[in-house]
Amino acid sequence: MTNAYDAQQSRGLLPAWGYLLGIGVVAYGIVPLLASDYVYDAILAPFLALSLAAVGLNLLTGYAGQVSLGSAAFMAVGAFAAYNFNLRIDGLPFILSVLFAGLTAAGFGVVFGLPSLRLKGFYLALSTLAAQFFVEWALTKFDWFSNYNSSGVIDAPPIVIFGVPFSGPSGRYYFALTVVLLLSAFAARLVNTQTGRNFIAVRDNETAARIIGVPVFKTKLLAAAVSSFIIGIAGILWAFAYLRTVEPHGFNLDRSFEILFIIIIGGLATLRGAFLGAALIVVLPLVLSRIGTLLLGGYFNSGVLDMSQRILIGALIIVFLIVEPDGLAALWIRARNRFFGALTSRRPAREVTA
């Protein structure tokens, strides 16, 4: 994995604040000029929620090396916790509901992260499945969580931060965007601290890390907590800003796999990969549907779309694992270096020999 090297290289082309400024200008300034309600609701909202979930999972799986198949469970914990904090504590500001919900998800993450102290690889992945099934079961079984709603599907409350309502497709977009940028900046900082280096140390060689004095257990549980916190808040975005309903089945095992696929296709242990992978997963069915209808007309119904999408994603994962294990993020960097190499012949020479 060449993520650390790539990070160094990307620092060489533009300072970090340059990237942030660019992303901010595009996301807050240019996107709203171009986006329709359809783009907000069908593309940007799920993209932001899934990106954030993938950032969270990447901290745990990509950086700290703990495979998890329970991401959707932590999203569900976040969404339902936010709903219940908001419902049951009168006058609690929405932003605090979000924060407490993230902390609740983090607590669940630590509990279900405990097996990682003993288990590795496949066995750990199986134990995270327990989180997935337990949470789905508990939320369906106990009506209290959905406030005894007869259908079990509850409408998400409106998003109001410091008295400012974030309503309508663009309002929800601004809310989700701000949350995603803040938490991604947090994650980006974290992976460049000693704690972030400890994540990778534990992943790459647990024994050597322990002898060096890395607190291995603490590091694993911290990775689980921070990861679940972020994924929990991604769950709030998924329910409140995208679906606008809170229901257990929005967070089933398929969703967990989807997030895992995003970080595999996007690139393990890169935050950029989480966004690239999420973009691909969200846009792929839309593109596929257009192309399919164009080529096959009426034969390309929703069932065919669903199946062809699964086939394509499965094939993509196999191709990426074999050809480019570092994912879209590595392709991105290679393409960019080639592009800049064509523009300025001096820079890449330094990078190659560095």
């Binding site: 160094q8 790459d204 060689n205 890390a209 004095g213 607190p215 560095a354």
Partner: protein, 300 residues
């Protein structure tokens, strides 16, 4: 001193409370006797077996401050097992390990760094996803006190710690001539350089006791010469006491102060390079038939 009496007196003792202060001394030197007070490492009756095989059998060993202490012997003699015992990866069945006067029945691996122990591995154990610099900085992990929140926000204890770690890492990088590859991911480096990075990662913690498990294995002779210089520098410039396992007898004879020879888990000789070179049991077990001055050619 009787190894058994010594071990017995410690059998029920807790890891920490076995430090005994000498009434006579003005200094609060931990001491069972005058001899032990001066050792960085003191092994008594150390025994480790896997199933029926005794990997390490009743080993006594003293290492004094500032020594380069070589341990040699044929493959399977128990050299690496001994280092794994000292660094806490294995638990001995019998015997004691005293580190700087603190006596353990088994060294807790997670406290090894805090006890001043650092090590390298026979088969590299680097963090492949990190750069050379990041690997070396991570060698300072045991000194980090700041929480992850302080680190992310860059407040509290974190900035000073991070600055200190980075400066120390760069000092070691300069000393081991790693500047040119500072930002390279270690996984992309040739074997000899990875060995050197591993030494740097161990040195940056400023260990009292540095355990080197075949630091020159698989190297070219030029690389071995460099590595020998770095080992000497680890002692002279970084004040580490060194235990060195190495098969290249020429290098071992050249840089070691004292050499212990293991065979089938037992110590068969211990002394200066000259003593060991002329010891008949060592020649039989390891060095091979003594031709004239053939110390450079160990039996395989």
């Amino acid at each position: 001193m009787s190894a058994f009496a010594y071990a017995g007196s410690l059998a029920a003792a807790d890891d920490r409370n076995t430090q005994v202060t000498s009434d006579a001394g003005a200094l609060l030197a931990p001491a069972f006797d005058a001899q032990k007070a001066r050792t960085v490492l003191s092994l008594r009756g150390l025994t480790l077996s896997f199933g029926g095989i005794k990997a390490v059998s009743d080993i006594d060993l003293d290492v004094f401050p500032g020594e380069i202490r070589a341990i040699i012997g044929p493959n399977g003699a128990g050299k690496s097992s001994l280092i794994n015992l000292i660094s806490g990866l294995y638990r001995p069945q019998r015997g004691t390990i005293a580190i700087d006067g603190q006596v353990f029945s088994a060294v807790p691996a997670s406290r090894a760094a805090k006890l001043g122990i650092a090590r390298t591995y026979q088969n590299l154990a680097l963090f492949k996803g990190l750069t050379v610099f990041e690997n070396i900085v991570t060698g300072r992990s045991s000194t980090v006190r700041s929480t992850f929140i302080e680190q992310v926000l860059g407040v509290g204890r974190s900035p000073a710690e991070e600055r200190d770690s980075r400066e120390r890492a760069d000092t070691v990088i300069t000393a081991l001539h790693l500047e040119a590859i500072r930002e390279r991911p270690v996984g992309t480096l040739p074997y000899g350089l990875q060995k050197r990075v591993e030494l740097a990662r161990a040195l940056v913690a400023q260990p009292k006791l540095l355990l080197l498990d075949e630091p020159m294995a698989g190297m070219t002779s030029a690389e071995k010469q460099d590595m020998a210089q770095f080992v000497l520098s680890a002692r002279d410039d970084f004040n580490a006491t060194i235990i060195l396992i190495e098969h290249d007898i020429g290098v071992v004879m050249g840089i070691s102060d004292r050499i212990a020879v293991l065979d089938y888990g037992r110590k068969i000789a211990d002394g200066s390079p000259e003593d060991v070179r002329n010891d008949q049991r060592v020649i039989d077990a390891y060095l091979g038939v003594a031709h004239e001055d053939d110390a450079g050619a160990p039996a395989q």
